[in-house]
């Protein structure tokens, strides 16, 4: 849950990050930036700001903004049998700032991300991939991943198959994908 004021301020801040990264959005597109708090009501630690260029039945493209040290909680994009959908495949390309991304595999001994205190149980994969401007990675469907913006935050473009956010599976049972806004 976010207040309307916090929501709008995060939107404005995300628009500024995108602009500084050289990514052009029209004023009406800036207004469409989504702020996701994942139902955790703690945007400084958990959240994602998103602008969706296109999301058809076949493919999708978005800009993603992470504020400094903001974390996207661990999740995966499973197959959706009822839609004959193999699960979302996504490619992140870092456009500005830096991202600490984690995937299944060999545990990185000293990770760059800061795990929110007391929340260790919500992070189970620890193979670190560090992304800076121009670095990109493709994540196969149904693969657990979580990521955090570096000290200056980050902007990344996501090229993917269709997004069905409501089907995402999060490790933290408290997560709700839809952000509630209150006055």
């Amino acid at each position: 849950m976010l207040t309307r004021l916090v929501y709008q301020s995060a939107k404005d801040r995300a628009a500024h990050h995108l602009d500084r990264a050289g990514i052009f959005l029209k004023p009406e597109e800036q207004e469409e930036i989504e702020v996701a708090d994942f139902g955790l009501s703690d945007l400084a630690r958990y959240g994602l700001q998103l602008f969706t260029y296109v999301n058809t039945e076949r493919c999708c493209a978005k800009e993603i903004v992470l504020f400094p040290r903001q974390t996207c909680p661990e999740h995966r994009h499973p197959p959706i049998p009822s839609l004959a959908y193999a699960g979302k495949e996504e490619t992140f390309r870092c456009q500005a700032g830096s991202i600490y991304l984690y995937l299944p595999g060999t545990v990185t001994s000293e990770i760059g991300a800061l795990i929110p205190r007391g929340e260790e149980q919500n992070f189970t994969v620890y193979q670190e991939v560090y992304l800076e401007q121009g670095d990109q990675i493709t994540i196969p469907p149904d693969t657990l991943h979580w990521f955090q913006g570096g000290d200056e935050g980050a902007v990344a473009t996501e090229f993917s198959t269709t997004s069905y956010d409501e089907h995402d599976v999060f490790t933290d049972a408290r997560v709700q994908r839809t952000t509630q806004i209150v006055d």
Copy 2:
């Protein structure tokens, strides 16, 4: 057919267009820019410069550079039954400059593109869509289209399903999708 010198110079020029549009490519990525002359050996009139971020079995993303008044010949992306592929769906988002794009539908009476003299038979669709920075359009599979850069050329990002260029169908029978380079 292009000489190696012309090919390299078009690549360098495309890298410059991308840089000026605020699109970051690493030096090694700039080297991977493709120049397509569509086998017409006339890059000033016909061609496309491309950088592919990703092209998996499910989705694809590219940057496209058009030099001033350079034309991508009319073509469509048909279904490919042997691959159980419905045909390429593509979204163009103009990042810089301007694009005159043509689709089937109501003929635009005074079009903005300049049709290469004596080549009218190779252009059959004339519903104009004019794209400037931040404008975008999604083109369904199997839809004839052609486009031309405006007086300053253009940079566009393409978000699409998988590219199988070799299956594209061009109106101009002379077109060959693979560019031959000669010394």
